[in-house]
């Protein structure tokens, strides 16, 4: 499963640049974007949940600027400890989701402009509370909760979906008790109205100090970056019956993982977690890699699992 943004192909990178410089039309760009989406679709053949690749997204926050009232896209902020930057959303005094825009918005951002149907088996990725707070201004947690809840309600009526809340803040900053409570309450609220499985995905950082909190959350499973965490620490008390999305291929290295090492890794995971509960994935956002490398890593991952 490859939640979040998959790297754009070199052709699409060039096309977006050409479009920005008015060298190609919006229709031409959309055609190339669609090619990328279809290529990724082929690569995911046999996956339980497919990813659209989010090729039209700029970052995980930007789509929300389209539906939140009085929302301005402002300056750049580093995306955690990477060399990718997100733009910060500046909110007005009474931000709320304009629900009249949601249908078109879902079609555009979550169904890749019609490349997928609403009942396709897809993994949807949304920013979790702390991430949303980090890349926005003038927004309280209560307002973030309302925004994410409104969107989640709309997305979760679609069948055959896996939900990933992306949250690298866990392990990056020390959460307050109040923040932990807000996170737990938000997830419990979602669990009350939806059976869609939800994974809380961490990335980049050592989360061992937060395991007690993580494992207490009302979610279907957890995503762990195994280039920042050891199997021993993470799986010593892994809760029974929960899903584990294993960050098994690195997104900060172009070295394509060796099959033997990955096989050894998965065997050590299967010793502790039932195989049916394990998803294989990238350790962080795949889009941090050049497309050709991400594709090669995906191929190796598929080979190991087959």
């Amino acid at each position: 499963m490859i939640p979040g943004q998959y790297p754009r192909s070199e052709k699409l990178v060039q096309a977006t640049r050409d479009f920005d410089r008015k060298r190609i039309t919006a229709e031409e760009l959309e055609g190339i974007r669609r090619e990328d989406a279809e290529d990724l679709m082929t690569k995911q053949e046999g996956f339980c949940y497919m990813s659209t690749g989010n090729f039209g997204w700029q970052d995980h926050m930007r789509p929300y600027a389209d539906i939140i009232t009085d929302c301005k896209v402002t300056g750049l902020k580093r995306f955690f400890e990477t060399n990718t930057f997100w733009k910060v959303l500046q909110l007005g005094d009474n931000p709320k989701v304009d629900e009249s825009k949601l249908d078109d918005w879902v079609e555009r951002y979550f169904l890749a402009n019609g490349s997928y149907t609403p009942d396709s088996a897809l993994v949807f990725t949304m920013p979790f509370l702390y991430l949303f707070k980090r890349y926005s201004r003038n927004l309280e947690y209560a307002e973030i909760t309302t925004i994410l809840d409104t969107v989640a309600r709309r997305l979760m009526v679609l069948p055959e979906k896996m939900f990933v809340f992306f949250e690298p803040s866990i392990g990056f900053t020390e959460l307050t008790d109040e923040e932990r409570k807000l996170g737990r309450d938000f997830l419990a609220q979602i669990a009350d109205y939806s059976n869609t499985p939800v994974i809380l995905a961490t990335a980049f950082f050592d989360v061992s100090a937060e395991l007690k909190f993580l494992y207490s959350l009302p979610v279907a499973g957890f995503g762990i970056d195994f280039y920042a965490n050891s199997v021993e620490k993470i799986l010593a008390d892994f809760p029974a019956g929960k899903l584990l999305m294993t960050g098994a291929v690195a997104t900060d290295s172009t070295h394509v993982e060796e099959i033997a090492k990955l096989t050894g890794f998965f065997n050590s995971v299967y010793d502790r977690v039932d195989r049916s509960q394990v998803f294989a994935s990238f350790a962080g956002p795949a889009e941090l890699l050049p497309r050709v490398v991400a594709d090669a890593k995906l191929d190796v991952l598929k080979e190991v699992l087959s």
Binding site: T16, Q58, L76, R78, F85, Y227, G247, E258, V293
Partner: protein, 400 residues
């Protein structure tokens, strides 16, 4: 209020308080880009070259427009001449705007990462990755011990020094940024995901990578520039604070990169779009090695006029710089918007900084970063307003 002057031992012209400088890159004109992409030059491209030549009072413009009339299939020599013109135009634009320390907007370089890495051994390019929005850069992977295959900037400096009427300042991409923006397949190998020692192994490998880039590529580059006569040397380290735990390694890499050149030239470090708080207190270890610390501020500031901390919240880090010996490189132009900062806003940002630092002689004024994402029209207007704002601030400070 005391007024000191940044140290200036080699040049005949002493730096004045609130000296202005550009940070590095500017957009490349279409007539500079197209010949290298095998695209035909259009009438509009030639008109633009002519128009800017007129605005910047460039005597050699007829030679350029005649050369561009060839439209396509330019020879290697012709392409080199077009590049030279692009540098000439870039420098003249800054001089015309009134900038004191100039560079050509990096017209000779692809961009700040690809240009040096292409000239280093031990790297192979792997493809494009996103910087932000639809902006991507070609990212390489280290596959062997880094070294220099060819000169990085000395010939370029000599060319610019010949063109420029003002003093030049040479931007050089720093070791930490090269390491951070590269993948590594050489120093970190054989990792097993989930291994108990994975963090320690990665950190050790990274440290070795950084020392090698500093010693084998950046130090020789700075030394060569110094020996060729360059005095203002700017080390670009936008990645400096990317990883919280690596500030000590970053500081060491600057020491390794400058080495015995400290005190012989004027060294600036440029850092942007980062959490600057992380630099302190370790940054003070670079006193006596670095002269100017240039940061981006306007990007995180308000557009309101005023000189209170509430209006100038983007300049919060100045209080940490106050008690250092560094000259403060003050970013006053937001480089990612077409908003033309009014001169009054520039003035207020400077006045606020002068108040916090307590010495306008310790302030140099510039954009936040390179203006490569803006058009030349926007760049020029922004720079002109910056210079006007500097004059207004000087008047207020009584240092005209």
């Amino acid at each position: 209020m005391t007024v000191t002057h940044p140290r200036n031992t080699r040049n005949t012209h002493p730096l004045k308080p609130l000296t202005t400088h550009e940070v590095g890159s500017m957009a490349k004109p279409s007539w500079r880009v197209k010949p290298f992409r095998k695209m035909a030059i259009t009438d509009a491209d030639i008109d633009k070259a002519r128009e800017w030549g007129r605005r910047l009072e460039i005597e050699e413009t007829p030679e350029l427009t005649e050369l561009l009339q060839k439209r396509k299939d330019f020879s290697k020599e012709e392409k080199a001449r077009i590049k030279w013109f692009s540098s000439l135009y870039g420098i003249r634009l800054q001089e015309k705007a009134g900038i004191d320390l100039v560079w050509d907007g990096e017209q000779q370089r692809v961009e700040m990462y690809e240009h040096p890495v292409k000239r280093m051994s031990g790297f192979e390019f792997r493809g494009h990755v996103r910087s932000f929005d639809n902006k991507y850069y070609r990212k390489a992977s280290c596959v062997g011990k880094p070294g220099l295959k060819e000169d990085l900037h000395t010939q370029e400096y000599q060319q610019m020094a010949e063109i420029a009427r003002n003093e030049v300042k040479v931007p050089v991409t720093g070791a930490y940024t090269i390491v951070d923006w590269s993948f590594d397949e050489n120093y970190v190998k054989d990792l097993t995901p989930g291994a108990a020692d994975i963090h320690e192994r990665r950190r050790k490998a990274r440290s070795e990578f950084l020392v090698d880039v500093s010693r084998e590529t950046i130090y020789p580059t700075l030394k060569s520039l110094y020996e060729a006569g360059a005095y203002y040397l700017q080390i670009d380290e936008p990645a400096a604070t990317t990883k919280r735990d690596e500030i000590p390694e970053f500081i060491e890499s600057v020491k390794e990169s400058i080495g015995d050149l400290a005190g012989k030239a004027f060294f600036t470090i440029h850092i942007c779009f980062s959490n600057y708080k992380l630099l302190f207190p370790r940054l003070k270890e670079l006193e006596g090695i670095l002269d100017e610390v240039h940061l981006e501020y306007a990007n995180r500031d308000s557009e309101e006029l005023g000189t209170t901390p509430e209006e100038r919240f983007g300049y919060e880090i100045l209080s940490d710089l106050r008690n250092t010996k560094f000259v403060v490189g003050l970013g006053v132009l937001h480089i990612h918007t077409d908003f033309i900062e009014p001169a009054e806003l520039v003035r207020d940002r400077i006045l606020y900084a002068a108040d916090v630092i307590g010495d306008p002689g310790r302030i140099m004024v510039s954009p936040d970063c390179g203006l490569r994402t803006r058009t030349w029209e926007v760049t020029y207007d922004k720079l002109c307003n910056m210079v006007e704002g500097v004059e207004m601030a000087k008047k207020e400070l009584g240092i005209g």
